[in-house]
Amino acid sequence: MNGSSALVDNIGASQSRRVFWDQDVYQLELERIFSRCWLMIGHDSLVPKPGDFITTYMAEDRVILSRQPDGSLKAFINSCTHRGNQICHADSGSAKAFVCNYHGWVFGQDGSLVDVPMEERCYHSDLDKSKLGLAPIRVETYKGFIFGCHDPEAPSLEDYLGDFCWYLDTIWDGPDGGLELLGPPLKSTLACNWKVPAENFVGDGYHVGWTHAAALQMIGGELAGLSGNRADMPFDDLGLQFTMRHGHGFGLIDNAATAIHVKRDGYVKYLEETRGGIREKFGPERERLYVGHWNTSIFPNCSFLYGTNTFKIWHPRGPHEIEVWTYTMVPKNADTETKRSIQREAIRSFGTAGTLESDDGENMSSATYNNNGIITRKGWMNSSMGKDREGPHPVYPGIVGVSFIGETSYRGFYRFWQEMLDAPDWAAIRANDDTWDAMWTNRNFWPDRLSAKQAEPQD
């Protein structure tokens, strides 16, 4: 099938509403995106010791992530190779082995089949246990964040993150050890297509002032001026927006890392004390990122807000439902009190009862379900904001948009989404590595803008 060109119009900056509704589109996503991309499955901090495990999902597939005796990680499909039952039903724990409830087959920490009840009497040495281990999954980590992938042809995780690593290093490596995830995850269902929250996090600075008007008014702080879109301010100089080769992207609000946190003394102090180290290690351009607020998605279904520090996985459950998992990111080397305070504030704003999160879920559900109407579904959605006010930047990798209120990274997300759906394999995707950003034709936008700025008289 090669139907996605009918779903995304890169030049016109729009998407068919079918991308949020059609069962066949979803099926293709499972096969071509979720079976071939690196998917977020955990963090070192969630499985610190040998024997530690967590259960999670890759799309709708149940997965066990297990820390090995030698400290390495393995992941495998959480389904018995005998008759298919789910083997592990706990969220997390420590286990020497995983025993299926049905017939008692025993799988080791590495997923291999180690014991079968009454094997001699039942199978008479005819069972080749070495061929009946749990189906393994590729596992790689980047700065402690653990991803899984089903496609042996996929690039390494580092190549998949690609030019986004340059940005991620700022916070995931950080001044001295980077970030860790605090669980257990909050979990809730939301009746929406998985791409609605993914696109919202990748690039929607526009909704902040209106959707969250009440919360921003109540919280105060740096973003209070956006509440109800009342503030009369130029947006061009308040931040930037970025999109990458593989659809990852984020919006940056300058100097607003902790804006959503009410009780934030510890975190503000931590950032102030460490920003110098960032400048030294990564330079002033990334110090700017370090003290800014990011709304981010890692393609396809992992999102986070750096600064607010909520961390999300949107597990798809068919085209019209997701399971939302919410962790908190905290600096590994911050003191315990600061970590706890960050977690409280992150969940207070973007947890299941979050003061901002509860505004978003309603929109995401509505944006999905309105397309059940056949006439409605024939329409297209618009993501043209900031088009032509973006391009390659002399410092920042990827394509850079001029304002955090823009839709640059929407366009980049759907550009890659379409590429993944169209491509028969990763070789076809690699073939586009040098031309992926050809749709951004305003190549001189940033050079012109920066030299014009330099020519301005200084105060």
Partner: protein, 174 residues
Amino acid sequence: MTETRKPVGMELHHAIVSHYSAEVRMLQNQQYREWFDTVIAEDIHYWMPVYEQRYARDRRPDPTPGDAAIYNDDYAELQQRVDRLLTGQVWMEDPPSRIRYFVTNVEAFEIAPFEFEVFSNVLVHRNRRQNEVYVHTLGREDKLRKTDSGFKVFSRKLNIDARVVQDKNLYFFV
């Protein structure tokens, strides 16, 4: 756990159940400010912890207020949630949800002079928009203080039964 404490007498038990009914009526009528001013004590800890699903043999301790929690609010934080609902800019509550509360299995014990520990079950039934229906069951563990202006809750622990919350959010008061 075997309960060795003696429950409060009939009259006090009735007073506490009546207090809960009045509380529910305020919430159902969206009188959030009145609810907050009438029933919430200034030293409130309003807490809904996250319980993982773990094996019975798992010896890790239960969550503390230092761990991930859906609610973990003090007085000012709870007040902010009330304030937000009253800004007139919470679009998802306009038109408003219809929420019914059913509070049952009330058991009350005196833990100090004028202070009571009260266990109850709460069923929350939320109707939204044209046809959205959400149902939640919770165990509630309250600590109430009897004051001149009625009972005030100073500790409320909400144990939601669902591991995966079956709702788009839990932004309502229980």
